[in-house]
Amino acid sequence: MDKKRNRDVWVFAEQRNSELHDVSLELLGKARELADRAGGKIAAVLMGCQIRGISRTLINHGADTVYVADDPELENYRLLPYTHVFENLIKEHKPDIVLVGATAMGVELAPRLAARLRTGLSAHCIDLKLDERGDLLQVVPGWGGGIVATIACPDHRPQMSTVMPGAMRALMQEERKGKVEDVPVDLPDSNMGPEILEIERVVAGEQPLEKADVVVAGGWGVGNEENWELLEELARLLGGTVGATRPPVDEGWAREGQMIGQSGKTVRPTLYIGAGISGAMHHVVGMDQSKHIININSNPDADIFETSDVIVTEDFKKILPPLIEKIKSRIGKR
């Protein structure tokens, strides 16, 4: 590896309403691994208004430096002001790698920034590694996840990736050392894009899917809302969370935030139990890193069985009720 080159890895610290998105901490975990191997430092870029307090969390999760752009103009995310501040920071410090979460904000911001910096960007990465020269290899799903491509950006810097939430692991939070650097915010007078009229937030009450140790997921085969209740019950019993493929979300049995897969979330629980799931690659790409996978589907040819450790070719409606009862009675006896 070329020792003289700047090997710094940067992470975009995404916050809304002063709440840090989990993916930012996951990115710091990966950044630590990459920076340690390449011999670089990690910086987090935090933008907002009165958000300096978040720096501690970022440092304790692995950031060596936190660049804080704190300004009323940045209070709510707006694409052009954020791009401007981020662009100037990158031009000044020239990091080797910049990682951004593949969130609603990240997938809008990162491409704009990459285009402005005229560098390469890979989308929705599920893994990142370094080659023998220390260049970044970015693993991305395509074609609904059926094909996995490895992307490199050999001749331009920084190397940029958006990364799927849930695909990387955050470090355990511990007291770490790091410095906080304030960044002057100086927005140009030119058109800074649309003006925010209103932000409406719907609060989700339950455990986030990405953090669940058990995920019980259902597909089109679950059939109706009443059957969906069976999944909810099993998940409650196992201390898990319910996930879904696209059709149950379209049907209204599950919420958008419960969708697992390429356009949803990536999960890797200890145990994934699937019911009535056909196994489209769109879904599989979001769950195939689970530790153990059980699938129940009455169709013996269901594609999902290719990605299963335990296969049950029965109607899940016949399996789940006695399964729930058995577990209940076993828990009760303890």
Partner: protein, 267 residues
């Protein structure tokens, strides 16, 4: 509205993706024999454009970077109601990554000229990078908004845009010109009528090459793409695939055992 450009991409029909294979020599995907369809989200973008035209007038122009045979797919958009189409087709465009594609589409937008809105689908189903909207806007030096689920025109050529974010929505006011990309929730694309299909036959499709656009060759195609493909593989599973057999009771008993073995519940 004056003119709305809708970017559309012909993509291989996902119903036939099981026929995709990889050329072991070149490490590229072989898509022979897979018919093309219009990228599904692009139909929502087109519907949004047609709805604006219906209430406020103007012209809807389809823009596509595609091989010449994509005309059939583009004609579907004309049948849905677009006024005309411009196809950017040149060998030097092939192999373009999202940034290079954005360069070419931006040149296409400038060639068409005098537009108020460029509408795209949030992402394509094949590459699904979702990067072209923001990059196209950057090339055109215009603001952009992704994840659009609502779009209305308000007084004085202003737009009220609803943007979907995690756990909520942002309502934005935007002037024009602006680049927008839509999610499927924004609308339900209309069905194509027979009259529409007939009308599409006589609508104008302009074919342009890089001779017309004159985009710097260093910035497009495989050469101009800053991201490089380092490898490509078909995903394979290495799971145990153990099938549980027997009566329902046997199966349930084995499942309970496994669940306890995995240690997700104590006991």
């Amino acid at each position: 509205m004056n003119r709305i450009i809708v970017c559309v991409k012909p993509v291989p029909d996902p119903k036939h993706w099981d026929k995709l294979s990889m050329d072991p020599e070149t490490k590229t995907l072989k898509r022979e024999g897979i018919p093309n369809i219009m990228n599904p989200l692009d139909k929502h973008a087109l519907e949004a454009a047609l709805a604006l035209r219906e209430s406020h007038g103007g012209e809807v122009v389809l823009l596509s970077m595609a091989p010449p045979f994509a005309k059939t797919t583009i004609r579907e958009g004309l049948a849905m109601g677009a006024d005309r189409a411009v196809i950017l087709s040149d060998r030097v465009f092939s192999g373009s990554d999202s940034l290079a594609t954005a360069e070419i589409l931006a040149a296409g937008c400038r060639w068409i000229g005098d537009f108020d809105i460029v509408l795209c689908g949030n992402q394509s189903i094949d590459g699904s990078t979702a990067q072209v909207c923001s990059q196209l806007a950057e090339m055109l030096d215009l603001p952009n908004v992704m994840h659009v689920t609502g779009l209305e025109e308000s007084a004085g050529d202003n737009l009220i845009i609803t943007q979907k974010i995690e756990n909520g929505y942002v309502k934005l006011a935007s002037g024009v010109p602006v680049v927008l990309s839509v999610r499927k929730e924004i609308n339900k694309p209309r069905y194509t009528s027979f009259a529409g299909i007939l009308a599409a036959e006589s609508k104008e499709i302009t074919m342009l090459s890089n001779k017309d656009l004159c985009v710097d060759l260093e910035r497009i195609g495989l050469v101009g793409s800053l991201t490089k493909m380092a490898g490509l593989e078909v995903r394979k599973s290495e799971r145990k695939k153990e099938k549980l057999e027997g009566t329902i009771d046997d199966i349930v008993e084995k499942l309970v055992e496994r669940i306890y073995q995995y240690g997700v519940i104590e006991g």
